[in-house]
Amino acid sequence: MKLIYFAWVRERIGKADEEIDLPEGVATIRELIDFLKTRGEEYEAAFEFPEVIRAAIDHEHVEHSEKIGAAREIALFPPMTGG
């Protein structure tokens, strides 16, 4: 599965995207963020306040409770500031 990061989430992690294999027990966006936080201090910094992180599965906004299912691409990013 492809993970893709934007803005300060991307900067703190130090990469724009990566391929990962989801471990057992990671079924939702919230669980994915909790899992990513265990991967090192750069991830801890990016996801220090998980409640502010927004997520999209295959280009659609989703809540943290959303099941990941057969997602191809999951994006994690800060609140949007366009316009």
């Binding site: 999209a56 280009h59 990013f77 949007m80 366009g82």
Partner: protein, 158 residues
């Protein structure tokens, strides 16, 4: 019979020509009574900023704006709607976004343009980073609660 609503959404690095964009929106139409437009520009924040850099999610940005535009067309019975959003580095005074809504009457046009802007600010995947005039790297612009409130006031209204 009225023509099908025109929905034109573009995400691009280059600048846009406001009058050419609005001409294209209304060309050949006799059912449009008014067009309301909004142009978002880069502010220099009292001279502190040298540029804003807009990052976007290429696979999702256009699709997210289109979903909002389709809702605006249905909700306000618009004849046409346009959004052009730029990405990349934009200097103070430069164009960032253009939104225009066309309808038979003015209220629908005004409301359609405002609805699209209010949702676009909080739901379209763009992020602004500041570049400072003194050469230092600035911060990412924070999302504002006021923008969420502006969007939420449309909820529950018909």
């Amino acid at each position: 019979m009225p023509a099908a609503p025109l929905i034109e959404i573009r995400v691009q690095a280059g600048d846009f020509d406001v009058s050419a964009e609005i001409d294209a929106l209304t060309k050949g139409r006799a059912d449009i009574g008014g067009v309301a437009s909004f142009i978002g520009l880069c502010r220099d924040e009292g001279g502190a900023l040298s540029a804003l850099e807009l990052e976007h999610y290429p696979g999702m940005a256009e699709r997210a704006i289109r979903a909002i535009a389709e809702e605006a067309v249905a909700r306000f019975a618009l004849s046409a709607i346009l959004a052009v959003h730029r990405y990349g580095k934009i200097a103070p005074g430069g164009n960032i976004v253009l939104v225009a809504a066309a309808a038979g009457h003015r209220h629908a046009a005004f409301e359609g343009a405002e609805f699209l802007m209010d949702y676009l600010k909080t739901e379209a995947p763009f992020w602004k980073k500041e570049h400072m005039a003194d050469g230092t790297s600035g911060d990412w612009v924070s999302a504002k609660d006021a923008d969420d409130s502006a969007r939420d006031r449309w909820k529950g209204r018909s």
